[in-house]
Amino acid sequence: MTQKEALFQYCLRLGDNALILGHRLSEWCSRAPFIEEDLALTNMSLDMIGRAQALLKYAAEVEGSGKTEDDLAYRRPEPKYFNHLITEQPNGDFAHTIARQLYISTFEYYFYSDLEKSKDKTLAAIASKAIKEVKYHLQHAADWTIRLGDGTEESRNRMQKAISDLWMWSGELFEMDEVENSLLKDGIAVDLIPIKALWSNHIKQVLTEATLNMPEEDYMQTGSRKGIHTENLGHILSEMQYLQRAYPDAKW
């Protein structure tokens, strides 16, 4: 794998995370528990899709084959998508969405803080914009985890279930392979090993305040680094790519 190929792959991974999570969050539109929260979830979705656009645009540039960010988003099949499996998990109830947000935005908080120092100027610039958004997402997720955890009995049960249900998808966030390792040497990628401990500590802290239990270490699902997904992604893409696939000659 050349450095160029590694960088392309790295950008796809980050871009796909943002795109698929943004897609999931957008599904909340007109479905939130009250209208203010509808606006909040949409705002986060917009942050994510904007970030996906920047990252996929850069991926296309790195690849150098004249593609656009839309070509990458709308013309790749599932096995060529590299988003973490957790991002494609269904929204579930509000607690599941909040748990997903908590896991991901805690990860992204440490990740993008570090990527801001990347030797790759474009990634560093994207990261310094992203970190501002992520701080907000994290606060939102942590606040709601605490409210729901320490709210009613029903909300506590739902929040605990969501935290436990999504746990097995969290291990993948810290997987590193030759893509990360080769870029890490050049000071481009983020080292995920130290982030894992930071992540666990923060999650534990939030869950404690929320009077919830931290799930036990257990088997973690894996696959997305190699393009192997859950059944969810196929449905997401068949919706997302519908117009582009049905009318391949059309410009929109």
Binding site: F34, E36, L39, D143
Partner: protein, 96 residues
Amino acid sequence: MAKDTQLDLWEVFIQSKSGLPYVHAGSVHASDAKMAMQNARDTYTRRGEGTSIWLLPSKNIVASNPDDNEMLFDPSNDKVYRHPTFYVMPEGAKNI
């Protein structure tokens, strides 16, 4: 199940640029101050309208009673000497 609620009402004041006064933008619903802040931000500053936000629970607002308007506001209408234009300056005097 408890009676349904749409959470408490908060009034939102936005400062659009540093140095300018805080102007009432509208209200939001939220159950606590942190949520109110996030909701105010998402509702009233989606287009970069703000540099700062003030919030207060709507129930804490004290408003004047319109029936008192004459008593409260009319007496100040005839205090013309409070306005600089009331005074006659000698012709030719500058910077005053």
